[in-house]
C-alpha cells in the first residue's frame, strides 16, 4: 500500500472492528444480520453503536442469513441504504437471494469475512464462500488487511449506487487472519466519511405508493428475462471505470491510492505470483528477499474481482515468463481454482504468452508460510529457465504426499 499521508491517529483494531467503525460512520438506514463466525463481531460491534445511540440505523436480528438478506432486499427496494455481513455457510444460505438482490439492481453492501464451507466443518479462512458466489451478479472487492477493508467499506456505496452501476457490492477479507488479528488503522473522521459517501442518487424504480410498481415479477419465455441478464452484465462493465474513479477520489481525500490490481515489482518481473487477500503480504515480503538475490520476482494482487479487470491484468502480465496463480479455493473437477481459470482466460484472450501454473493453498485455514511462497517462486524460476510446469494444481503446505 502506498504511503499514508493523513495525520490522523493510528488505531490498533481488528479487521472486524475496522469495518464496524466504517459502518457506523456511514450510518446506513438498515442493517439486518445473523451471527456466524468469524463475521459475528462486525455486526455485534455495530449493535453496540446502535445501543449507544451513535447511529440511527434500524437494526434487525434475523433468524437466518436467508432472512437477513431477504430483509436487506426489502429495505433496499424501499430505497433504504442497507448493509449486512456474513461468512461461509451463512453466505451459502443467502445464495438464492443473492441473485435476487443483483438482478433487482439493489445497491446493498455486504461484508463477507472469508471462511471455508462445510464439510467437514471448518471455521477458518479460505475463499470458497465468496468465490462460489462469484456468479451471483454482485460486485466483489477483495481486501488484504484491516485498512483496505475499512477503506473499501467507505467506498462501497458510491460505487454500488452509481447511476450506471446499481449493483450490490460485497467486500471480502480473510477470516481470523484479518478479521480477528489486530492491525493498524488510520480512520477518517465521521464528517469525512459522510461527505465522501454523500447522498444516494435518485432512482425511480423503488417501492413508492404514489408510483406503484412490482419488483421482480414473473418474466418467462416471452418476456425480457434474457435482456435483463444482459443489462446486468452491462452494468458490470460500467462498474469497472466507476470503481477506479471512486478509488481515485478516495486517494485525493486520504492519499491511499487503490487500483483494480495492485502490483509490486512488476516493472521488470520475469516471474510473478497473482494473489488475492491477506496472502499478498507474505508474498510481498518473500518477493523482496528474492529480489535481493537477483531473482526478478513480482506480485499482482487482485482487488477488484467482479467485474474482472481483464485488460489491465493482461497488460501487467505481458512480458512475464512464468506466472503462478494462487487460489485459496478449489474448483473440483475443473482445470484449476477460480482465480486460475479467470487469469488463464484473460491471458489467452489477450494473446499473452506466459507459462502458468495454479498454486492452491490455505484451504480451511492451512498456514501459508514464507517457505511455501519461496518454493512457488523457485518453481516459476525453473519454468522461466525452460523447465516444464504441471498442468495440474500444485498444493502448497499439504500434509503427506
Amino acid at each position: 500500500m502506498s504511503a499514508i499521508t493523513t495525520t490522523a491517529k493510528v488505531r490498533a483494531v481488528t479487521g472486524n472492528q475496522a469495518v464496524a467503525l466504517a459502518m457506523k460512520q456511514i450510518d446506513p438506514d438498515v442493517v439486518a444480520a445473523y451471527p456466524i463466525t468469524p463475521q459475528t463481531d462486525v455486526v455485534q460491534t455495530f449493535s453496540q453503536y446502535v445501543a449507544d445511540g451513535a447511529v440511527r440505523a434500524e437494526f434487525v436480528t434475523a433468524e437466518s442469513e436467508h432472512s437477513a438478506m431477504s430483509a436487506c432486499i426489502g429495505s433496499a427496494a424501499a430505497g433504504a441504504r442497507t448493509m449486512t455481513a456474513t461468512s461461509s455457510a451463512g453466505f451459502a444460505l443467502m445464495w438464492e437471494v443473492l441473485f435476487v438482490a443483483a438482478s433487482m439492481r439493489l445497491p446493498l453492501v455486504m461484508t463477507t469475512v472469508n471462511r471455508a464451507l462445510s464439510g467437514p466443518i471448518n471455521i477458518h479462512c479460505d475463499h470458497s464462500d465468496s468465490m462460489g458466489g462469484r456468479d451471483t451478479g454482485w460486485l466483489q472487492i477483495y481486501n488484504e488487511d484491516a485498512q483496505e477493508a475499512y477503506d473499501a467499506t467507505v467506498m462501497s456505496f458510491p460505487i454500488a449506487e452509481h447511476a450506471a452501476v446499481r449493483l450490490p457490492l460485497m467486500n471480502m477479507y480473510d477470516g481470523f487472519i484479518i478479521s480477528g488479528a489486530i492491525g493498524p488503522l488510520v480512520p477518517l473522521s465521521d464528517g469525512q466519511v459522510q461527505a465522501f459517501v454523500g447522498e444516494a442518487p435518485p432512482y425511480k424504480h423503488l417501492l413508492q405508493p404514489n408510483d406503484p410498481i412490482t419488483v421482480g415479477p414473473f418474466d418467462g419465455l416471452h418476456g425480457w428475462y434474457f435482456e435483463h441478464k444482459i443489462a446486468q452484465n452491462r452494468a458490470m462493465e460500467a462498474a469497472l471505470p466507476v470503481i477506479q474513479e471512486t478509488y481515485d477520489r478516495f486517494a485525493e481525500l486520504t492519499g491511499r491510492r487503490y487500483h483494480h490490481l495492485m502490483t509490486y515489482g512488476m516493472e521488470d518481473a520475469e516471474v510473478a505470483l497473482v494473489v488475492i487477500g491477506s496472502a499478498a503480504g507474505t508474498a510481498r515480503s518473500v518477493m523482496k528477499q528474492l529480489r535481493e538475490e537477483g531473482i526478478k520476482a513480482g506480485i499482482v494482487k487482485i482487488r477488484t474481482f467482479r467485474p474482472f479487470p481483464t485488460e489491465e491484468l493482461a497488460r501487467v502480465l505481458s512480458g512475464v515468463k512464468a506466472v503462478g496463480i494462487m487460489d485459496r479455493a478449489d474448483s473440483y473437477g475443473a482445470q484449476g481454482g477460480p482465480l486460475y481459470l479467470e487469469v488463464l482466460a484473460a491471458l489467452y484472450q489477450r494473446d499473452v504468452q506466459a507459462k502458468t501454473v495454479n498454486f492452491v493453498y490455505g484451504l480451511g485455514g492451512r498456514d501459508l508460510f514464507p517457505q511455501n511462497i519461496e518454493d512457488a517462486f523457485r518453481t516459476l524460476e525453473a519454468a522461466a529457465g525452460g523447465a516444464d510446469l504441471p498442468y495440474y494444481r500444485i498444493y502448497l503446505n499439504m500434509k503427506g504426499e
Binding site: 451471527p35 463481531d41 449493535s47 445501543a51 436480528t61 433468524e63 437466518s64 444460505l93 467437514p120
Partner: protein
C-alpha cells in the same frame, strides 16, 4: 468401565451409586464451567444405555456449542448445517427405520435458523427424538440475542435487555409444536437441581422409548445454564433458570399423546373415539383409556402454561424463590386433565 469400583479396592465394598455410562466417552469436556450440556449429554448416554440401543443409535449434530456432542457420545454421528438436523434425521430414519435416531440442537439452531425443519419434522410426525437445549442465547458465537432470549435479558446484541418493541417476543418452541398433530410427546425440563435432573432423565428416556414404540415425533426441551454468556456464576445461572427462565418457559409435560391420523379420524369420528376430540383442524386428547379400540395409545395432555396470555417483561426484580414453575403453570391451566403433571416415565 465402572469408575466407582475398578482399580479402587478400598471402595469395592461401597454401594455403587453411579456408573460411567457406556455410551459416554471417557474424555475431558471442553464446555465452560456450569454449562448444562455436560449433564444433558450424560443423561442422554444413560438413557441409551438403559434402553440398550447404543449400538443402533445415530445422532445428528447441529451447529453451535451443541455440535461437539460427537466428541462425547459413543454413537455414530452425522453433522449437518445450521438448523438442518431434523431434516437429516428424517432421511436417516426413513432409510433405516431400525435405527434409533436423535438430533441434539441448541436454541440458536432449532429455534432460529432451523425453525422450518423442526416444524415440518414435527408436522410429519417423524419417528425421531429431538433433544433441544435451550439456554436463551447464541452460545458459541459469543452470546448474541436469540429468538429464545427473554424479554429484559441482556445479550451482546441487546445490551439494555431484550425490548419487545425492537426485538419482539421469545419463542416457546414446545408450546408452538404442541399445536401440530404430528408432535406426540413434548416436555420441558431443566438441569438445575437433582430433582430437575431426574425429571430430565425420565423425559429423555421416555422420548427414546416412544421412538422405540414407533409413536412419532418427540422433543425434550432442556433449559440449560450458560453462565459464560449470561455473565453469571454457575450458581447464579442455576438460580436464574429456576426463578426467571422457567417462569417464561414452564417446566413439565406440554403434550403427551399418540398421534391420531386423519384416516383414523374418518373411520372413527371424534364422538366415537374415546381418546380424541376434534376441534376444527386440531384435536385435543382428553383423559381416557390408555388405548382406543384400534389399539392406538392416547395419553392425557397437559394444557399449556400461559396460553393466550400476553407476556409481560420479567426482570431480575421478579426473582421469586417460592415460585415453582410446574405448580405455576398448572394453577393457570385450571387443573384440567387429571394426571397431567405426572412425569412418571413410560417404560418400554
Amino acid at each position: 468401565m465402572d469408575w466407582c469400583t475398578e482399580g479402587t479396592p478400598s471402595l469395592v465394598t461401597a454401594p455403587v451409586v453411579t456408573r460411567h455410562p457406556r455410551a459416554l466417552e471417557s474424555v475431558a469436556t471442553h464446555y465452560c464451567p456450569g454449562c448444562g450440556h455436560g449433564i444433558t449429554q450424560r443423561l442422554l448416554a444413560n438413557a441409551l444405555d438403559e434402553l440398550g440401543v447404543r449400538e443402533r443409535t445415530v445422532g445428528v449434530a447441529a451447529i453451535g456449542c451443541s455440535v461437539l456432542i460427537y466428541n462425547y457420545l459413543d454413537v455414530d454421528f452425522q453433522e449437518l448445517p445450521h438448523g438442518r438436523a431434523p431434516a437429516g434425521a428424517t432421511g436417516i430414519k426413513r432409510a433405516r427405520p431400525d435405527l434409533v435416531v436423535f438430533t441434539y440442537q441448541g436454541d440458536g439452531d432449532l429455534a432460529a435458523i432451523g425453525t422450518a425443519e423442526i416444524v415440518h419434522a414435527a408436522a410429519r410426525s417423524e419417528n425421531i427424538t429431538v433433544i433441544f437445549v435451550n439456554n436463551c442465547v447464541y452460545g458459541m458465537t459469543g452470546g448474541q440475542m436469540a429468538p429464545t432470549t427473554l424479554v429484559g435479558q441482556r445479550s451482546e446484541t441487546c445490551r439494555e435487555g431484550r425490548d419487545p418493541k425492537l426485538h419482539g417476543y421469545p419463542v416457546r418452541v414446545a408450546e408452538m409444536l404442541a399445536t401440530l398433530d404430528g408432535a406426540v410427546y413434548l416436555e420441558r425440563v431443566s438441569v438445575t437441581h437433582p430433582e430437575n435432573v431426574k425429571a430430565a432423565y425420565r423425559a429423555i428416556r421416555k422420548a427414546f422409548a416412544y421412538q422405540l414404540e414407533d409413536r412419532g415425533f418427540s422433543l425434550v426441551e432442556v433449559l440449560s445454564p450458560c453462565p459464560t454468556n449470561w455473565g453469571m456464576t454457575p450458581s447464579e445461572a442455576v438460580r436464574w433458570i429456576d426463578e426467571v427462565v422457567s417462569r417464561y418457559y414452564p417446566l413439565g409435560v406440554i403434550k403427551d399423546c399418540a398421534p391420531v391420523h386423519f384416516a383414523h379420524l374418518l373411520e372413527h369420528p371424534p364422538a366415537e373415539s374415546p381418546g380424541a376430540k376434534l376441534h376444527g383442524f386440531h384435536y385435543e386428547t382428553v383423559a381416557g383409556p390408555e388405548a382406543d379400540e384400534s389399539g392406538r395409545l392416547t395419553r392425557p395432555q397437559q394444557p399449556f402454561g400461559r396460553r393466550g396470555g400476553r407476556w409481560t417483561a420479567i426482570s431480575s426484580k421478579d426473582f421469586q424463590p417460592e415460585s415453582r414453575p410446574e405448580s405455576g403453570s398448572q394453577a393457570e391451566s385450571g387443573g384440567a386433565a387429571g394426571s397431567a403433571g405426572d412425569p412418571t416415565p413410560e417404560d418400554p
